[in-house]
């Protein structure tokens, strides 16, 4: 018995030590990237300092985060700001990064940008302690703070257009040199983690499909994570193998798996956030269109506001189709194969949405 107790104690010790090593690794990594990121602009005195905290799914997703980084780079080039970035490894690290940036004196950050729904609570907590620090939360909203401005999107509107296109493909079929769909009347949706933002994608997309033709079968599944391409692939594989003509994703890095499945099935897929036929160019042969969500312009605009002294900490902006924040862009390689009738339908639907003629649900009804 005493032997066993001892073993357990050593086990706990080892786990503790291991965790410390792991933590040290994280800190080392992020500090490293801070240094390289901020060194660019430190030379110019009085430059605006911006910190950004990426979501866990992070850079390299060939979509969301990479697009946000582009906005940051644009701001560096055009506005001469310097910037630091935090790349957390898990949801529990968000608050640490915000705290660290908010309490930093050298440099003193003029703005901290948080991204996604997962950072609502961390920013809510930290922003209460640093009343002088300005935040912008993009893609979600923190209520009742005058030092946190919010920028969100109307993903359901943009996704409705993706739904319109998908419905056309599912009824008319689709032919290009690389992919073909026979018009089985089945469409699919791959979600990352289930949250209100991703559900807006799904709800809008589903409405777009159903408003066109109620008989189309709608399949949807969530991988539970934004960084699980293997899961995304098996979800999409199952959809394609059960007749899906086209699948759309709102799953960040998980969605890359959907493209892989599309390539193997030889069917079209719809990308998200950026024109993925360019950003995920390995898969441009299956990407019929992408529903863009201009993270880059959201990041750039909020930084521009700070630089120009127009920052308003209580503002709550929602960007939509009318602002050009969402757009359905056809793929570079196979987008031209989309039928004229589908393209026309997308164009007219877009105008109808902007004119407020179509009401689109923001939540998925179970």
């Amino acid at each position: 018995m005493s032997q066993r107790t001892l073993d357990r104690r050593t086990f706990v010790k080892a786990t503790g030590a291991g965790t410390l090593v792991g933590l040290a690794g994280c800190l080392g990594g992020s500090n490293g990237s801070d240094d390289t990121d901020s060194s660019g602009g430190n030379g110019s005195d009085g430059a605006t300092n911006v910190a950004i905290v990426y979501p866990v799914a992070g850079l390299g997703d060939q979509g969301f985060s990479d697009n946000a980084q582009e906005g940051l780079m644009q701001a560096e080039e055009e506005l001469g700001i310097s910037h630091s970035a935090g790349e957390p490894d898990s949801n529990s690290e968000y608050a640490d990064f915000h705290n660290q940036f908010a309490s930093s004196q050298d440099p003193d950050y003029d703005l901290i940008i948080g991204l996604t729904f997962d950072q609502v609570t961390p920013i809510e907590t930290v922003s209460a302690d640093f009343a002088d620090q300005n935040w912008t939360l993009i893609d979600a909203a923190v209520e009742g703070r005058d030092n946190v401005s919010n920028i969100s999107f109307t993903e359901h509107q943009g996704s409705y257009l993706a739904g319109t296109l998908a419905a056309h493909i599912a009824t008319e079929g689709f032919e290009s040199e690389t992919v073909s769909a026979s018009g089985e009347g089945v469409v699919g949706f791959v979600g990352g983690a289930r949250n209100p933002v991703i559900e807006r994608f799904e709800a809008g997309y589903e409405a777009g499909v159903e408003d066109f033709d109620e008989s189309i079968e709608f399949r949807s599944a969530y991988a539970g994570e934004f960084n699980a391409p293997d899961q995304g692939q098996s979800i999409a594989e199952s959809m394609y193998s059960e007749g899906a003509d086209v699948v759309y994703h709102a799953a960040g890095g998980t969605g890359i798996g959907m493209f892989e499945a599309a390539q193997q099935a030889g069917r079209p897929a719809i990308g998200v956030d950026t024109d993925q036929s360019q950003t995920a160019s390995d898969y441009s042969d299956v990407i019929v269109a992408s529903m863009t969500k201009r993270m880059d312009s959201a990041v750039f605009t909020t930084i521009e506001n700070v630089v120009n002294g127009d920052y308003d900490g209580s503002s709550d902006v929602q960007l939509g189709l009318a602002d050009g924040a969402h757009e359905l862009v056809y793929g570079q390689e196979i987008g031209s194969a989309v039928s004229d009738s589908a393209q026309e339908a997308v164009t007219t639907t877009r105008e109808q949405i902007i004119d407020g003629e179509i009401s689109i649900p923001e939540t998925v009804d179970e």
Partner: protein, 358 residues
């Protein structure tokens, strides 16, 4: 003696009763699903595609599990296989990405797989030296292996690609085996698949045969059960253990490469990396399979099947939290270990062996 026998008999009756109970529960659950309104949906999602997904998802679990099984059978508990999976996943993407330009995608993926095997074996050798030569506690050293690769792989990917996630590299294509792939159902399932899946399908029976029917297999078992007798027979116990540990590293390397090169060709460094606990499920699989490679494969297939099922149940509107399915392997192993207790850990697993010779 008679008392002993009675005790065994009583134990056996209880065990049998518990097994029957579990079987009955499983039958009730299946019947309940089949009479539920979801019946049509469920029968429609359990098709070739479902079994194919389960088979592909089971590859890293099975390979890591069989590797861990060899190591533990030889007397060295290797809970670091999760770490070796990470090493394999990372290395395969790194090498494939770096060589695709000069060698062409088709050769680069094989080189990536080979590199994953080499890194897995060498890493396992180092782990073996730490455990055998320097007599480190195997569980602690195994944990260290996991933590080291959990930190090192994302760190190196940040250094090499400037990002915690790698870009996508070339991947294996599914290969249809001529003639055999034309068999209905089986052909699609077993003979139109990734090279790594074929490797697993070969490794499983070979590992079973080697362990049960060859002298090397006997040495491995003896080394974990009764090293003294092996030593007496003139076989170097520690050499057998080194080889077994390296087998576990090599198989985990293939498993890790299967996770990246047979999917999208990307290494994900966030959180628990792209491996996300497959190594631990592998350990669970060989425990449930009672150190039998065939049983390990069956258990891995079961866990992978549940995962594949979860992704499909959502599509027919039966939305069960994925986290709940994720917990199934761990709950299952506790039930198996506690209620059935047929899993027998090798007598000398975790014990260092010192030959009286030197």
């Amino acid at each position: 003696m008679i008392e002993d026998m009675n005790l065994t008999r009583i134990e056996n009756t209880t065990l049998t009763r518990r097994r029957i109970g579990l079987l009955a529960l499983a039958i009730v659950a299946v019947v309940a699903l089949l009479v539920s309104p979801y019946r049509d949906g469920i029968t429609s999602i359990v098709n070739v595609g479902f079994f194919n997904t389960a088979l592909v998802l089971s590859v890293p679990i099975t390979l890591a599990g069989i590797g861990g099984l060899y190591s533990e059978k030889s007397g060295v508990i290797n809970i670091g296989i999760e770490g070796f999976l990470i090493a394999g996943a990372f290395t395969s993407v790194l090498v494939t990405g770096a060589t695709a330009g000069s060698l062409g995608a088709d050769n680069a993926v094989w080189l990536g797989l080979l590199a994953a095997v080499v890194v897995g074996s060498v890493g396992a050798l180092v782990f073996g030296v730490v455990c055998i030569r320097y007599k480190a506690d195997q569980v602690i050293a195994g944990l260290a292996v996991w933590f080291i690769f959990l930190g090192l792989a994302p760190f190196l990917s940040r250094v090499y690609w400037g990002n915690i996630n790698s870009p996508t590299v070339a991947t294996f294509n599914q290969v249809a085996i001529p003639i055999l792939s034309d068999i209905p159902w089986i052909g699609r399932l077993l003979f139109t698949n990734y090279p790594t899946t074929y490797i697993m399908l070969i490794v499983v029976p070979v590992a079973w045969y080697v362990l049960k029917h060859t002298s090397f297999g006997m040495w491995v078992r003896a080394s974990g059960e009764h090293p003294e007798s092996l030593d007496t027979a003139g076989i170097n116990v520690n050499r057998v253990r080194y080889v077994s540990i390296m087998i576990s590293g090599a198989l985990s390397g293939i498993g890790g490469a299967a996770l990246t090169l047979s999917t999208v060709g990307q290494f994900i460094g966030q959180g628990q990396t792209i491996v996300g606990g497959d190594g631990f499920i592998g350990i669970v699989a060989y425990l449930m399979g009672n150190y039998n490679p065939l049983g390990t494969f069956a258990a891995a297939l079961l866990f992978a099947g549940l995962d594949a099922l979860q992704l499909r149940l959502q599509q027919i509107g039966l939305d069960i939290a994925p986290e709940l399915f994720g917990a199934v392997p761990y709950v299952a192993v506790i039930i198996v270990l506690v209620l059935f207790g047929y899993t027998r850990i090798p007598a000398n697993a975790g014990e260092n062996y010192e030959s009286g010779d030197d």
